[in-house]
């Protein structure tokens, strides 16, 4: 539904403020949805059109239920697209809508300007709809269950991509015709002959030899990746014996994965930035006296903290504010770093006024990992009361284990690296010269969830069709898991 006149007026007002502050965003289209529609869109991860799959239905059930029980409420959704789409919840009051709009313009600016989004498809709204059409077409042709089963498998590995790949030209992408064309050279070509000459023109021994050679070649062709391949999905697309429709589906799911990747890589920054701007716009410009309490209530909910989880809105907001303050007062550089008088440091003020400029620069070139790594200081960590927690078997609970700055930073960076996912590579695709696939988990101190790992291995095997291995470490011991199509096995390294 289009915006009613009153909201339209508010939107124009907020958009004006956002532009005054120097935010730079694509045209933003707001739509009003009731909670059912909003839950629907949220289940589809923001897009009104997705390929059919039960996982979206499961998400819908979860969202509807927690909405019904009053456990949570989605205030806003915004889609990185040109034009940018944002949804407003119908039953919200005007001050909520104002906050959401201001917040959305923050996101819009971030999407448009942050470097990590520079390669994302800005016409994803259309692309997703195309994907949906494609999948529906395959469903009509091959049947619901067949397609669904395959999508289950794809979704099980869709995070095995190389998140930095869009920026690196490693090698030319193989084109479809280079890929295994399944039927072509499976059998030796015979030379045409009359019956009685057959034996001489196509001697059986020779034919057999040739046939064997072709089969050996085929195994070899599944060749090694030259270096361990992080984009496992791409590797499978190029090398696994998939049917064309399967390859298409895997490819479109990979594309969606790459589309969502930068949002995962910049969650803290993106939310921090949007929160920074809704707070600036509201408190300096848009807020009316009568709305103050509602605003404060909403905002405090947005930045509330929990002991077990980092709130990206809060952390991002505070870090941006800290950077702005430091650059305003000149609290950076050699002179400041080398000063060892705590009092001087505290009251340091060179009155540079570079803060605003600096945070705009930060939102342009950083992602969460570099953002935290570069700007999180010991003072900040202490002020924000950050700590590391661990599972304590004695207390059968998660307990605070440390407040040391370096450890907090290390743990935080670790949890953000690779989107908090394990690093998995394709190491060999002709393992033991039998065309078997060998995957490698680069263990960095944390074990994999074994039962899930095994099931995932099974899924990859379904695609690869030959046995599949995974090398990892479990409780300090090197292990190789194998699934051969029928059963799981494992051995120590």
């Amino acid at each position: 539904m289009n915006l009613p006149p009153e909201l339209k007026r508010i939107q124009e007002e907020i958009e004006g403020y956002a532009r005054d502050y120097g935010l730079d965003f694509c045209e933003t289209i707001f739509e009003i949805l009731d909670f059912k529609q909003l839950n629907e869109v949220a289940s589809f991860m923001g897009f009104p059109n997705r390929f059919p799959h039960w996982r979206f239905g499961m998400e819908y059930e979860r969202l509807s239920k927690s909405y019904a029980y009053g456990l949570h409420k989605i205030y806003e959704m915004v889609i990185n697209n040109d034009p940018c789409y944002a949804y407003l919840l119908q039953c919200n009051n005007y001050v909520d809508q104002k906050i959401v709009m201001a917040h959305v313009y923050g996101h819009g600016d971030f999407f448009k300007n942050n470097f990590w989004f520079s390669k994302t498809n800005r016409k994803m709204m259309d692309e997703m709809a195309n994907h949906a059409t494609k999948v529906r077409k395959y469903i009509d042709k091959y049947g619901y269950n067949e397609v669904e089963e395959f999508i289950d498998i794809c979704l099980s590995i869709d995070d095995l991509i190389d998140r930095h790949a869009p920026f690196i030209e490693r090698r030319g992408r193989k084109v479809a015709s280079d890929l295994l064309d399944p039927e072509a050279e499976q059998t030796v070509k015979k030379i045409k002959s009359k019956d009685y000459m057959e034996e001489f023109i196509n001697p059986p021994d020779f034919m057999e030899l040739q046939q064997r050679k072709i089969e050996e070649d085929k195994l070899k062709k599944r060749g090694y990746p030259e270096a361990p391949e992080k984009d496992v999905v791409l590797f499978l697309i190029e090398n696994a014996p998939l049917e064309n429709w399967q390859r298409e589906i895997l490819e479109l799911i990979r594309e969606e994965s790459y589309y969502f990747a930068p949002q995962g890589q910049t969650k803290i920054m993106n939310e921090g930035w949007a929160t920074y701007w809704h707070s600036k716009i509201m408190t300096q410009r848009a807020l009316r006296d009568s709305e103050l309490i509602d605003y404060a209530d909403h905002h405090s909910g947005t930045v509330a903290t929990q002991p077990t989880r980092i709130n990206p809105y809060k952390l991002g907001l505070e870090l941006f504010k800290d950077i702005e303050d430091r650059w305003n007062r000149g609290k950076f550089g050699k002179e400041y770093e080398e000063c060892d008088n705590i009092e001087t440091k505290k009251s340091w003020d060179k009155d540079l006024g570079l803060g605003r400029e600096k945070i705009f620069e930060v939102r342009k070139i950083y992602n969460d990992v570099t953002f935290i790594d570069t700007f999180m200081t010991e003072e900040f960590c202490e002020e924000q009361k950050l700590f590391v927690y661990k599972y304590s078997p004695e207390q059968e609970a998660y307990v605070i284990s440390d407040r040391d700055f370096r450890k907090v930073k290390q743990q935080l960076l670790f949890s953000l690296t690779n989107f908090g996912q394990p690093f998995i590579f394709v190491k060999e695709s002709n393992y033991e010269n039998r065309g078997e696939l060998y995957l490698y988990h680069r263990h960095e101190g944390i074990d994999l969830k074994v039962d899930y790992g095994k099931e995932t291995l099974r899924n990859i095997q379904t695609i690869w069709t030959r046995p599949v291995y995974l090398e990892t470490v479990v409780e300090g011991r090197g292990k190789i898991f194998k699934f051969d199509g029928e059963k799981h096995s494992e051995r120590n390294l």
């Binding site: 589809f44 059919p52 077990t308 980092i310 661990k390 307990v399 949890s415 988990h441 994999l448």
Partner: protein
Amino acid sequence: MALKIEQDHNRFRQIVRGKIKANLKKYISHEELIGRKGKDLISIPIPQIDIPTFRFAPRSQGGVGQGDGDSGTPIAVDEDEGSGEAGNLPGEHLLEVDITLEELAQILGEELELPKIEPKGHQKIQTEKDKYAAIHRSGPESLRHFKRTYKEALKRQITSGAYSLKNPLILPIREDKRYLSWKTKPTPECNGLIVYMMDVSGSMGDEQKEIVRIETFWIDTWLRSQYKGLVTRYIVHDATAKEVNEEMFYHIRESGGTMISSAYHFFNKMIDEEYDLGQWNIYGFHFSDGDNWSGGDTDKCISLLQKELLPKVNLFCYGQVESTYGSGEFIRELEDELDSAENLITSKIESKDDIYNSIKQFLGKGK
């Protein structure tokens, strides 16, 4: 308005149904479900339906948090521990899903291959009723729902600013129109009476009563899905019988001897006095440990069944639960004496695991 997500949502529900069906045996032998029963819905915990991925083991991970507290301060208990089972496998997260009792009965029927119940006599006639209960966006003009259409038009005009208080003219356009729609529902025109009888003498312990409770819950769920106006009554007995309400039925504990005939007599009197046999489909379920007072009383029971009860009821089921004092003779004697009776079913329930089969025995004939 129809949502696109509905297709996916339905598919998900279908998967859930499959899960419930696959685990039905487990659900049947656990009392847990009964406690989750609401008015129309029942909430069932099923194993998380999830797509596997390579991910980190949650416990070895730890993380960063924010807030007050010294080293060692617990901040969260481990949810994975919930199941209380030993072993090194992490407990599975459970997903709570709501399904209607009707749906549950349907699953039960499919899984146990329970036949649809054939009501007796002339009551087989079903009436079909058209019920106008749904609102659609398209339909014939004759079924246009005036009030809804008006509301939609009003809403649209207010939001688009086309409504004015001075000239409150509402003009519905095509998108505003709402139509009534109907569903044809066959409703069996028959009435069902179920009478549950339970032996509450000293030898029936809590465990036995729990078995009875679970089994009656499932029987009730099934029969309710088959009859529209189902009446349920409860009789307990030791040496004498009396009628109680549902709550009492499960919680009462008497001691004393056992005279099963008292219950059968009471049941018979109830039928004679209150129910017209032509109108009612009557079911009797009796649970006991089978330790009857005397052979004489057992004979009395058999003759009561033979002459009075069996000709009147659709089905008479006797379930014998194993008590700590061993199992009685009653079931054997019933089987010996009334072997030819078609509508008498006996079943031995030695433990909770037998409930599944027992339900199948009782209801498998479709009487």
